[in-house]
Symmetry: C2
Amino acid sequence: MRLNNSADVVNYFRGKRHQRNYYVAGFVDGEGSFSVSIVKHPTQKFGWMINPCFQVYQHEKHREVLELMKETFGTGAIYRKSGTHPVLNFSIDSRRSIMERVIPFFERYPLLVKAETFVIFKEIMNAMEKKEHWTKDGFIRIATLAYSMNQQGKGRKYTLKEMLATLPD
Amino acid sequence: MRLNNSADVVNYFRGKRHQRNYYVAGFVDGEGSFSVSIVKHPTQKFGWMINPCFQVYQHEKHREVLELMKETFGTGAIYRKSGTHPVLNFSIDSRRSIMERVIPFFERYPLLVKAETFVIFKEIMNAMEKKEHWTKDGFIRIATLAYSMNQQGKGRKYTLKEMLATLPD
């Protein structure tokens, strides 16, 4: 087998969905991210909106690996990241797509490095499906889980404490 | 299937070598590197030593993914990188192991992002097998190929021109 460039590999994977999916799991385990941002939003019940998102970044010269992601999940958008670096972002942020496409995928094709992060991500998604974030206790539980992901809230605008302090009694 | 942590995933892959290998290819395509360093070495024919190396870095809290690499390739060493960051390095730098374990692996389980880099790496390895670096023309060809990898020699101590200028006539 001679596969000398990325186009060959994309073609090779066309007839090998199962193999491609293990490759995708491995790639995502290195380069992907599961995150749950919580942003100020005055019209939401507690003044904050919870946004789960699955993303993969890649240098624009390797767009084909993001196209492979899009083909694999059957959804998602690829766009250029703002800023000076020529980086593309593949993301799935619709809750429906995450529930129907992303979560079942990684239950079948498991992650190793991001295994724990994925468990928390799934816990948050399931809680939101049950509308737990519509109650104050549920909102606090989900926010606490979200902040426990990806280096415990590092890089977030507000600390968990600051955010929770704004919630009405 | 419930795989809630990395140990579960390592176990899961025990009976699934083929699937594991696709996962490994995907992971390496994101996080691995193929490189050929050229370092000053007075006893070598042209005063330089050519060192091909296959590596994967990872935060020390995810050592298990590097153990999976080691199991997959059946060789290689895991060590802590010097410096302040808690980073582990898995590397295979023996030419024999690269020829026998690394190259056949990625011919069977293809890379997408690193497809072109791997082709150059293989070309260098094959040239060294034929001892092309023992002739001046061969050395120049191999060095030029090496410098064309990984951002065209960025981060190297010497430019290609500087290095080639030291070669005897």
